[in-house]
């Protein structure tokens, strides 16, 4: 340690313990790292590895006394923050150390305008007057690239797009020229094209002001493109740390190697020639009515899916790619007749659009769906066995409970779960295991088509890879047709034969996966690919801010 210029941030042997009743949980177990001025350190790890808790403890923002630090020291420019009195911490929070959170919608106060949110930081720390604060707020908004900043001053968080909200958060964090910026998964909640813009902005700002940047993320690709040094966390410990180039080239720790090896790769098995068409639709529409007045008459429509044509064959995966709001989930729900739609839906050659609910029921067995959120898609009050067996009961499959139980056991085994788990409740399982339960629930009915609505988005990379492999294996074994909805191009590349790129409810481009990803014809597809694989922001203007 140099006395003239102490290290910007030095964390030594930090431990965090949480208490609930008599139970104790060690979230962080002896973590040490340092950040110099102008340096970007990435803290990488899967969910539950303790990376966010580490970040929060730097500013002593954990819920004390439920949380406690059995050991450790946090020095900011030589000053000890651990156990520092509140007034000292307040002088540092939001002033000398800025913080950006993952979800800007919940981190911004919904009742305050943009101006008020940013002014508050300035007034509290710098004791600026209203006029001066307003001036500085305007400067900041321009700095973070909000167009027409003067007009946006009065806007409320809900009036801004996800990307703009994240920019406002960054403006707040930068308001007092912090020396250190802590960014906790700043791009996880935004689309890839916006992510690329935000990363570019952070990089520029960092260079301009010489800030230290602690970047917390689970995305290794992002680390490779944006950070200087990386610290890999696993269950509360840093298992490996070093310059990004070295760690990525020659990972030493077994866990880092596994993380790096868990990029989804490979391709699905080819579709048999002359495979039967399972589902086809032309000019398919899902329009949500906008209603007004006491009697809620329809005044306009949100065209969630507008004039889309796709077809899926047995054993084929059609990947539907798009950013949030592109209508890809509405397309999936519409095709299964879970939301109202217009246009013929041919399922195994029969139009299911005009069928009544009772007529549709037997067909429902053959088309299933797996949802994104493994926590929300399983009824918390039913055992795993009951959840998987429910479809069998509805469709009267299996002679008696014993026969059904045997089928449930087979399905669970097939998705790689211990059949004994069928007497337990969903909350006892991890995200990946729950997703396997969801797949078992769909599979037990022996469907022809499964709509997979972002089945891997809520999972860690290492788990994602396992789920993708499972899905590919099931497709091979049962000749299943998949409609695979995702915003993650890497996963789509590994899963699908055919890819459909959607934007604003319309198909931008579609074709065989290899062709579309290798030589995209449309500017939007190119921008999406550049943002997803190279973290490059598009400059041509196809992408909105």
């Amino acid at each position: 340690m140099n006395a003239a210029a102490p290290t910007l941030l030095e964390v030594e042997d930090l431990a965090v313990q949480f208490r609930a009743g008599n139970a104790r949980f060690d979230a962080v177990k002896g973590v040490s790292f340092r950040i110099e001025r102008g340096e970007t350190l990435a803290l990488v790890g899967e969910s539950g590895s303790g990376k966010s808790v580490t970040a929060l403890s730097i500013l002593q923002l954990l819920p004390y006394p439920a949380a406690s630090h059995p050991s450790g020291s946090i020095r900011f420019k030589g000053d000890e923050l651990m156990g520092a009195p509140e007034p000292v911490l307040r002088g540092i929070r939001g002033n000398r150390v800025g913080m950006i959170f993952q979800e800007p919608l919940t981190a911004l106060n919904p009742l305050h305008s943009v101006e008020k949110q940013i002014n508050e930081v300035l007034i509290v720390h710098r004791k600026l007057g209203r006029g001066a604060a307003r001036q500085r707020t305007l400067e900041l908004l321009e700095l973070v690239g909000i167009r027409n900043a003067a007009k946006r001053l009065g806007a409320f968080p809900h009036e801004l797009s996800g990307g703009q909200r994240q920019r406002v958060m960054i403006a707040m964090a930068l308001a007092n020229d912090p020396e250190l910026l802590i960014a906790d998964e700043p791009t996880t909640a935004v689309d890839v094209t916006i992510q690329a813009q935000i990363l570019k902005l952070l990089k520029e700002l960092q260079q301009r002001f010489g800030m230290g940047l602690l970047f917390i993320t689970h995305d290794l690709g992002l680390v490779r493109h944006t950070c200087d040094r990386v610290a890999v966390m696993q269950s509360g410990r840093i298992v490996e740390t070093g310059p990004v180039a070295d760690v990525f080239k020659a990972p030493k720790h077994e866990y880092t190697q596994r993380l790096l090896g868990s990029e989804p790769r490979g391709t699905p098995a080819p579709v048999a020639a002359g495979a039967a068409e399972v589902m086809a639709t032309d000019g398919f529409r899902v329009w949500y009515p906008i209603k007004a007045g006491i009697f809620r008459h329809t005044v306009d429509h949100v065209k969630a899916v507008d004039d889309v044509s796709i077809r899926v064959r047995a054993g084929e995966t059609v990947g539907v790619v798009g950013e949030s709001g592109s209508g890809k989930s509405s397309l999936g729900f519409g095709l299964l007749r879970l939301v109202e739609s217009k246009g013929a839906i041919l399922f195994a050659g029969r139009d299911i659009q005009p069928l009544r609910n009772a007529e549709l029921r037997p067909i429902r067995r053959e088309m299933q769906i797996v949802f994104q959120d493994p926590f929300g898609s399983l009824s918390p009050r039913m055992t795993v066995g009951e959840i998987v067996a429910e479809g069998l009961k509805i469709h009267g499959i299996g002679a008696d409970d014993d026969a059904r139980d045997a089928m449930v056991v087979d399905a669970l085994r097939e998705v790689g779960l211990d059949p004994e788990t069928r007497h337990r409740y969903p909350h006892e399982f991890s995200g990946g295991q729950r997703q396997r339960i969801s797949i078992a629930r769909a599979l037990v009915l022996k469907p022809k088509l499964i709509v997979l609505d972002e089945p891997t988005s809520a999972l860690d990379r290492t788990v994602q890879v396992q789920v993708i492999e499972l899905l590919r294996k099931l497709q091979r074994d049962h000749n299943l047709a998949y409609i695979f909805i995702s915003h993650d191009l890497a996963v789509v590349r590994a899963m699908s034969h055919h890819v459909v790129v959607m934007r604003d409810g319309k198909v931008v481009e579609q074709g065989p996966t290899g062709e579309v990803l290798a030589s995209p014809k449309e500017a939007y597809t190119r921008a999406l690919l550049a943002a997803a694989f190279d973290f490059k922001a598009d400059e041509s203007g196809v992408v909105r801010a």
Binding site: L338, R381, D401, D418, S430
Partner: protein
């Protein structure tokens, strides 16, 4: 068939959540004790006929055993002259039985409608060894009336609560689940229905008929079911877009099965937390109606009627008013305390009080994601 789950309570499978709720309920000491006190009082008053009655429980007379509390016997049986039912307050009958056998009287030898004879002064009389809480202006024992009044109030409250919960849950479920036009028209209807003045309706009605227990229950039910619709409807509106409800629909489950199997358990939490408060509200309404004279028929044991007497004889018989006040206050307080405990027990933000269970479904996203290692192993 299915191996028994380790946690069972009688035929009922205790899930970890339920176990945590029970623990939370027990930890709320005031509510927990209130529940027991209330339960004991309620069970005690359920057997009011055996505790306060103007006829003996058992009679041994001339070699025969009689149970007057359950059955009427003509006076002739006991050496009288009349074929009519025995009047147990007759000194002649008492002497007759004392000579040829014995009889066991209830703790309080008066029913709610028995005028106490041979009072030392004109009724109402103050508390004495004969009449522990005194007598009212018709010379009826106040304690006996309180016991019967407590029973009828609680039964009325429970009946109204159960009936209005069933109606309210079904109505809320239908509105929330189907939404759209059904919800719209139903809501408008409820807004109108809710503005009907119940009290005036009862006053007008009492000009035509003499309302009894069931009439009152019916009329009150017409309006009280709306209390729960709001919460249940909100739960259903929220839950119908849950992924597991969508998954059930995608599986082809019918609407009633989705409503009752998948969504209702969520709504039940809100319903059950409301129930003690609805009960205390219902009891309060019944008491108020009796007080105003539009409630149960004259002569019934009713706490409201007791309160009315308390007001009329405030200066000459303060014991009536004091009794009415305390009994209603204690009953409603107990119910409110129980309600608070139930509400706390179902509050997902209240962590387990007892040691052990840390991971719980309501707090999943943070708690259960902590196991990536387990995942890799599978």
């Amino acid at each position: 068939m299915k191996p028994a789950s380790p946690h069972r309570f009688l035929w009922w499978r205790v899930r970890p959540v339920t176990a945590r709720r029970l623990a939370n309920f027990r930890a709320h000491k005031r509510g927990y004790w209130s529940m027991w006190i209330f339960a004991v009082l309620f069970v005690f008053t359920l057997f009011a006929e055996f505790i306060a009655n103007d006829r003996p429980l058992l009679v041994w007379y001339d070699g025969g055993l009689y149970v007057p509390v359950l059955k009427d016997y003509p006076e002739r049986t006991f050496g009288g002259d009349l074929p009519s039912d025995t009047d147990w307050s007759e000194p002649f009958i008492r002497d007759e039985i004392a000579k040829k056998g014995w009889m066991v009287w209830p703790l309080i030898p008066y029913s709610y409608k028995t005028p106490v004879k041979n009072l030392t002064r004109p009724a109402p009389t103050p508390p004495s060894w004969q009449n522990w809480l005194g007598t009212d202006y018709q010379a009826r024992d106040v304690l006996a009336r309180v016991i019967y009044g407590f029973r009828i109030s609680v039964l009325f409250g429970l009946a109204l609560t159960i009936a209005s919960s069933v109606v309210g849950v079904v109505a809320g479920a239908v509105q929330g689940y189907f939404g759209g036009r059904v919800d719209l028209y139903f809501q408008r209807f409820m807004e109108i229905w809710d503005s009907v003045p119940v009290l005036y309706l009862l006053i007008i009605l009492s000009a035509f008929i003499q309302p009894d227990f069931w009439w009152l229950l019916g009329i009150m039910l017409l309006f009280s079911w709306m209390g729960l619709v709001g919460v249940v409807r909100a739960e259903f509106l929220r839950a119908r877009n849950f992924d597991y409800v969508r998954a059930a629909r995608a599986m082809g489950a019918s609407s009633p099965s989705i409503m009752f199997k998948h969504i209702l358990p969520n709504a039940l939490v809100a319903t059950i937390s409301f129930m003690p408060f609805i009960t205390s509200g219902s009891i309060g309404s019944l008491t108020a109606l009796d007080y105003l004279g539009f409630g149960l028929p004259p002569g019934s044991a009713s706490l409201g009627e007791l309160a009315k007497q308390g007001k009329e004889f405030a200066t000459i018989a303060p014991w009536i008013g004091v009794t009415a006040f305390f009994i209603v206050a204690i009953m409603l307080s107990l119910l409110v305390f129980v309600g608070e405990a139930v509400r706390d027990a179902f509050d997902p933000r209240k962590a387990a009080v007892s040691s052990g269970a840390v991971a719980e479904p309501e707090q999943t996203s943070a708690a259960t994601q902590e196991s990536p290692a387990e995942e890799v192993a599978s």
